[in-house]
Symmetry: C2
Subunit: 264 residues, 2 copies
Amino acid sequence: MPESPIGIFDSGVGGLTVLKAIKKILPHENLIYFGDTARVPYGNRSPNTIIKYSVENARLLQKFNIKTLVVACNTSSSYALEILKEEFPFPVIGVVKPGAKLAVESSKSKRIGVIGTEATIKSGAYRKAILSLEPFATVFEKACPLFVPLIEEGWLSDKITELVAEKYLKELTEKEIDTLVLGCTHYPLIKDTIKKILKDNVTLIDSAMAVAEEVKRKLPHRKKNKSQGVVRILVSDKTPRFERIAKMIMGEDTLIEEVSLDSE
Amino acid sequence: MPESPIGIFDSGVGGLTVLKAIKKILPHENLIYFGDTARVPYGNRSPNTIIKYSVENARLLQKFNIKTLVVACNTSSSYALEILKEEFPFPVIGVVKPGAKLAVESSKSKRIGVIGTEATIKSGAYRKAILSLEPFATVFEKACPLFVPLIEEGWLSDKITELVAEKYLKELTEKEIDTLVLGCTHYPLIKDTIKKILKDNVTLIDSAMAVAEEVKRKLPHRKKNKSQGVVRILVSDKTPRFERIAKMIMGEDTLIEEVSLDSE
């Protein structure tokens, strides 16, 4: 059905940057977002657990008759994308490939850095996606597990966040990269702090807009859709912390609904 | 049964400090530990979710015929203790009361600081427990949400951890406290860093040993137990991160088993 919503999930609040980008270029689409705040973060968990949680999230969104699923979580995209594509009848779009494509297009030297959670970096998903597009690229990867807690604490431009960024990015700055992929949907929120550490010629890749373009390109019956563009935001655990950051990203009038993952 | 194990749960790895203390003073007891690593951390979640997870963990341990349950998680102890006591037939011991008791005994000025996760501090559980023992005490509380991720990253004596501690503890140092409760089982791992920030006369309260004493005091049939003192460590998600920290606390030969919370 053209009026069916597009489903989007993330482990927590970060995927709202992807929701916002989709809303911007597809304003008439109905969008339903699920943030798995009862089990966030995914980035330190094992592949099996990441896959299990991703499938459960997709099942929850399936109940809303979604026509397309966007996996707005880099960790889930890195481990569960193929399984989700096999298990579900609707198209599934991840964040890794669009981000990798944008990085390859943007890089002149083809020396590309990637930062993300422990699990995302360990999966090598970005490395593989970049090398499949540009076999002569050189990819440098670095896990930054403290970025998410620092961002969730709200220390976006704190001196401490800068020191942590310096510590994590030191290796990458020595590698003469000209492009850095922000391989976690939280990271755009500390873009300015990250920029301070890197050389001026390094381009930051925030895949939110690239993902939104991919969704638009792949959307069936797009022109037949005459709906209002309703946005619903669901979470598995409603906390003041999620609400605070959600409003920071989506605006003060954002409404958040709690749903149970257990219910059938 | 005297040979039945004592069950201990925590949201993750921190409660192993409590397991270790119990093992030390009750070497003949069989101990079974469960770390809910598939859903850690609890400290930023809502009260409802904390209670739900705590009850599920207790149910899991109940299947092992435990004779006593130790809630080695401060966040769970702060929200779920009364419910667990009502729901289950075995005695339930939390970490808040023993820690509060030790703090009151140790403090001369009765100006006591408490640090913990966002949820623990918000619950006011330590404040209430301290004031019920010593109505003339003055309690100063401060949530330190970044300590757990910093400890899990292994930055135990890093300059950055010191700066974060300074930022969090600044208010408390101005309050002339003489006792500080480490209201999270992770925190003893950065005891030295915390000590550097505080004045020399401040005593740190690590409730692990106090909890172990309480377990010993309340244990039925203790002298009848002739068992070997087997220790089992279960987790809901087996990750290299848990294994690394578990070995740091419990020794290199520590074995870890993964179990599913879903199975009946």
